[in-house]
Amino acid sequence: MTVRMGFVIITSRCIDCDACMVACRAENEVPIGFTRNWVRDSGAVGKFPIVKQMFEPGNCMHCEKPSCLSVCPTGATYKRADGIVLVDDTKCIGCKYCIEACPYDARFLNPVTGKADKCTFCLQRLEQGLKPACVQTCLGKARHSGDLNDPESVVSKLLNRYPARQLSPDAGTRPNIYYIDVPVAEIPSGT
């Protein structure tokens, strides 16, 4: 079976501390003013005193059908065999078409490199057998990553046990981040 790298994010375990954003900035030297990942905060929803609040972390969804890839005029954006979507800087002309095309606003033009920039799944860390920086540092164990096709991975086990959703299915890109909103008492062990 082919490898399909993706994320599972447990929103009920996120406290919006944004450690993932700082860890990513450090690991990937993301310039000030831009970020490769985020935590969206619903704010207090409802009427005082009956309110609730949800936090939703995210980053590039490494979609099955990435719209960023199909619009790229030079073939700079490509999808690896393991599903990770990357930008080849030597080919990128910085036309920003992919930035417009991404339904998740996951990309930006890096002013230092002049290239489209986004989450690389921390490829440099994966190659050493490490988890992405955002996953590694997550205080709430809300962020998880791995091979969605491998039944022994944490992400597969989580998806087997809990209901999950994807963002903006209408956009039709088949994103590879799955969100679990219910409480997850214990994180299964796995790759």
Binding site: F34, T35, W38, S67, S70, V71, C72, P73, T74, G75, A76, K91, C92, I93, G94, C95, K96, Y97, I99, E100, A101, C102, P103, D105, A106, F108, L109, N110, P111, T113, G114, K115, A116, L167, S168, D170, A171, G172, T173
Partner: protein, 301 residues
């Protein structure tokens, strides 16, 4: 994540100028093929105009690139799924051929060797071929946005809207040129025909917007929200005033007044010129509003 617009005025200029060039080219081709000598001035001015707006727009586009020196990468590949890849090739070809076409329309003293003998034949050949390229370039600007996954840009008829808008601005641009030119000033029939064509195109544009309004009532929630940005949202004022009123309805009325021929010669001249300029302004704002408002719309989560 980004908050400001990613594609700004430079892109709007690019989309607009590509349309003007394509429209001017088609106007020239049609005048030459259908009107012959009677429409010689229209054909000539169309040919003279066509290469420049698009060349300027492409230059502006270069400024907008993050890595302008990497521009050549566009022409080392053809990405069959990417409208921009197709569009870049189309624009390159269009610009080169429109320069050739322009050359053929230069006064005889500029024609070298035996070109002069075959000028007519070549003009005819190009005039038959260029409309295909021109229509590609004009629709491309719409398809470009269409392919980026934003609700407003995915609405039906966007490429058609851009195509018709491109033709009307191109015709208007030629109209302005032939009205101001001393040496190749248009005759009454030419002006009247140009005005009639513009009436038809502007009318079609209004119909397209009408269709969109109907669509906005029956589309998905995503699309309804996207349309709302145009009709009632933050771009509503610009849309209704700059596009609907000044860009379409007013020039339509003026053109009709012009065509009915009840005005004095002097006023016909003024009304014709003024309405053409308004069509150009309206065409610019079509690109501006769609480009900017589109970036405000996103998918429901």
């Amino acid at each position: 994540m980004h908050t400001e617009v990613t594609w700004g005025l430079l892109i709007v200029v690019y989309l607009f100028t590509a349309g003007v060039s394509a429209g001017a080219m088609v106007a020239s081709n049609a005048a030459f093929l259908l009107g012959g000598d009677r429409y010689e001035r229209v054909a000539r001015w169309g040919a003279y105009l066509a290469p420049f707006p698009i060349a300027f727009g492409t230059g502006v586009l270069l400024l907008d690139l993050g890595s302008p020196l990497n521009f050549f990468r566009l022409f080392m590949t053809l990405q069959y799924k990417s409208p921009m890849s197709w569009g870049s090739w189309a624009i390159l070809l269009f610009t080169l051929l429109s320069l050739v076409y322009l050359y053929l329309w230069l006064p005889p003293r500029y024609q070298i060797g035996h070109v002069i003998k075959r000028v007519r034949v070549w003009q005819g050949g190009l005039a038959k071929g260029m409309p295909i390229l021109a229509v590609s370039v004009a629709s491309y600007t719409g398809v470009l946005l269409n392919a980026a996954d934003r609700p407003l840009w995915q609405i039906a008829l966007l490429p058609e809207l851009f195509l018709v808008s491109a033709m009307s601005t191109g015709v208007a641009a030629v109209g302005v040129a032939v009205a101001l030119s001393r040496r190749w000033r248009a005759n009454h029939e030419e002006k009247r025909s140009l005005a009639l064509v513009d009436i038809v195109l502007v009318g079609i544009e209004l119909l397209i917007f009408g269709a969109m309004m109907i669509d906005s009532q029956i589309g998905t929630l995503n699309q309804q929200l996207a349309y709302a940005v145009l009709w009632t949202g933050s771009y509503a004022a610009t849309f209704w005033i700059m596009i609907m009123l000044l860009g379409l309805v007013v020039p339509l009325i003026l053109k009709i007044v012009e065509v009915r021929g009840r005005l004095s010669w002097k006023w016909t001249e003024r009304v014709g010129l003024g309405s053409s300029l308004l069509v150009l302004v309206g065409g610019f704002f079509v690109r501006y509003v769609i480009t900017y408002a589109g970036q405000m719309t996103g998918w429901l989560r």
